[in-house]
């Protein structure tokens, strides 16, 4: 057991920290309202920020060198993730491409597809969105019905996608479509790359309960896509998508966000007085704070364990399946505790001067619940843990 980082890793961290100190203010994105819809100007700034990070050597560190990565081990990437949160750096607008499509193309794409798409993913010259869910296919994604018919050397796509984050500014979409309606549902799906400027695509905003516009409905009306935009084999898109999901699950998120949230909650609890003393001194709330803090600490070590296992090349076990469930629920529980700590001020919204703690918590409380839903709800995660982890029998 050794919790120390290697000298070169500490050097890397130190250099990165300094780089972020110098460069984050130059992004023009600091303090950006997470609730605000991204307008063209904001998107261009976001693209430039990712470009700046990429040029600095801080994007997709584990990718193969021939595709623009540095083949650095997962520890480096985890240091980047951690330091970016610590510095409250703006996120990567091209994150979907980097974490999902990129690895998919690296494993499943043709040489031409890799050449054509990977470099622009890294520089954010092309921003990608994910066309998966549909109104009738959320948790049951394999039930998707957006149809792609082969006409000559093109796919012609008709249908609808929903919850498509960033579709209102994305350049491209990676999309799951049904290419064989006769086959069993998992076996008639294909993975295709769609240019968002294609004729026939309509993007309609969906407003979240937070008031923000992040995701959209996307309608396809006879949208033509070149045949060579198929990734992997025809009707094998489910396999391709699952490989990406597996990879995504192994991308270890930073627990720094939870740690920051927890610290902020404790600070809030110190500042709120009830019955003549700070909430941190309240015997009941104290216990609740500790319960949350223990879960934050446990997740921190849980991530370090998995990071070590990845570096050592060990296959992930059941412990890797709980990350999304445990992490999202923890963050929502922290935010909920904060809302309860604020008493009647919890009624107030962002922009109201009387709001506590600069109205950080209402958005966080709502958004953290959204994160329990997206990417597979908590209920689905539990099914996965039970079926794939504990090998409990399927219901169907």
């Amino acid at each position: 057991m050794d919790l120390e980082f290697r000298p070169e890793e500490e050097q890397f961290r130190k250099k990165l920290r300094q780089w972020l100190e110098e460069n984050v203010p130059l992004s023009g994105l600091r303090g950006a309202d997470p609730n605000a819809t991204r307008d063209k100007a904001a998107i261009e700034k976001a693209r430039a920020w990712q470009r700046r990070l990429y040029d600095g050597g801080y994007v997709a560190l584990a990718w193969p060198k021939k595709y623009g990565g540095q083949e650095l081990d997962p520890v480096r990437q985890s240091i980047v993730n951690e330091e970016m949160v610590r510095a409250r750096a703006p996120g990567l607008v091209g994150g979907m491409g980097i974490s999902m499509l990129g690895p998919t193309l690296i494993s499943w794409g043709s040489d031409e597809q890799k050449r054509r798409y990977l470099p622009k993913i890294l520089t954010a010259e092309e921003i990608w969105c994910q066309g998966y869910s549909e109104p009738g296919a959320g948790s049951d994604l394999a039930a998707l019905r957006t149809r792609a018919e082969i006409v000559g050397d093109e796919f012609v796509i008709n249908g609808q996608k929903v919850w498509t984050s960033g579709a209102h500014y994305a350049d491209m979409m990676f999309c799951l479509v049904r290419t064989d309606p006769e086959a069993p549902k998992h076996r008639g799906i294909s993975y295709v790359l769609v240019d968002m400027r294609s004729p026939g695509i309509t993007v309609r905003p969906l407003i979240q309960m937070t008031g923000a516009h992040n995701f959209n409905e996307v309608f396809f009306d006879n949208v033509r896509v070149p045949r060579e935009n198929l990734v992997g084999k025809l009707n094998e898109g489910w396999l391709v998508a699952n490989a990406t999901l597996f990879h995504e699950r192994n991308m270890l998120g930073s627990t720094t966000t939870s740690q920051q949230s927890m610290a902020r909650l404790i600070a809030l609890a110190r500042s709120v007085h009830r019955n003549g003393r700070p909430l941190t001194a309240d015997p009941v709330f104290r216990q609740r704070l500790v319960d949350l803090e223990m879960r934050v600490e446990a997740m921190k070590y849980h991530m370090l364990r998995q990071l070590t296992d990845q570096v050592r090349g060990r296959n992930p076990g059941i412990e890797a399946m709980i990350n999304k469930l445990a992490g999202t629920e923890l963050n929502h529980d922290i935010a909920t505790a904060a809302m309860e700590a604020m008493g009647d001020c919890a009624m107030l919204a962002r922009g109201e001067e009387e709001a506590m703690d600069r109205a950080f918590w209402p958005y966080e409380w709502m958004f953290s619940l959204g994160l329990m839903i997206g990417g597979g709800t908590s209920h689905i995660q539990k099914n996965i843990i039970a079926e794939r982890g504990l090998k409990m029998p399927k219901s169907r």
Binding site: T280, A298, Y301
Partner: protein
Amino acid sequence: MDFGLSDEQRHLRESAREFLTNECSPAYVRKTMADEAGAARELYAAVANLGWNGLIVPERYGGSGMGMLDMAVLLTETGYAAMPGPFLFSSALAASALAHGGSDEIKERWLGALAAGTIIGTVAISERNDSLNPAEMVTSARREGAGWVLSGTKMFVPYAHAAAFIVVVARTGPSPADIGLFVVKTGAPGVRIRMLHGLDLTRRVCALDLDAVVVTSGAELSGGAALYARLLDIGAVAIAADSLGGMDRALEMAVEYSKVREQFGKPIGSFQALKHAAAEIVAELEPARALLWYAAYAQDAGTPDAPRAAAMAKALLCSIYTRGTDRAVLMHGGIGFTWDHDIHLWFKRARFNESFLGSPVYHRERVAALGGY
């Protein structure tokens, strides 16, 4: 960055699992439960050959000189097997007290035999007032001549009836920091031991009455209140490790049962309610596993957050174990409620673990205090 178990620790884990699967089956556990003394002496002697009893005893005194993380790995396995008897109390707690606070003479006298499995040691900490707070400790040690006179009643002393010596924590003066730890021979005049009738028959606890028990000055361990605090932290990590393994086992049993028990034409494990009940335990237990490893490591490394980590581990893992075994019994349906089915063994061990050496509420309060809330 290398967070986790070393190859040696993995090997220790695997060999302990194998040994206990063969030598400590539920049938053996039940046999020990039915035995009046319940000290599992043969098993205790047998594991001496594996180096378990002296795992943390310095090599100079016949042990393996290993650390709390190694012990935690081992205790996770003994918890998994519901190993009955004094192992944790003797080889983790009593051994630590002597290793960290004993004079050479005390160590020479007791540790070799303990490591060899020929004697058992234990610790007497709790009293009638359910307080671990040194300020509230009542059992007293009064100076008399060159030695001490111990008086008072200690409660929940594990295996006092089978032990050769007991490390007794007593008050040596009026202020909270006036705490001493004394090695008391169980046969000494004035020592009265009474086994308490407990729920968990795999762990026997006793009331210990000390009626003007005389000990020499050489019987005192050095370290006082600091040694006491350290002992409590070691106990917290040890019990947390047992809880981790025990929960692993209880969950496994519930999940396996759900795969074979059929109702409404299907294995009950195919119903979401049971899947989710099981998955929720996993989601709590896996991060807690990593926290336990850290807490054990922190004891070895002496990090500033070691006491806080120990309190977290105890609070978190004992809470998971009691709630999780509740759930595991429920998942078994009617059969889980019977004496003959094994799940209640772990269910009761969970209750013991939560009660012994401080409840989750107590330890959470310590975490808050140590965190400067």
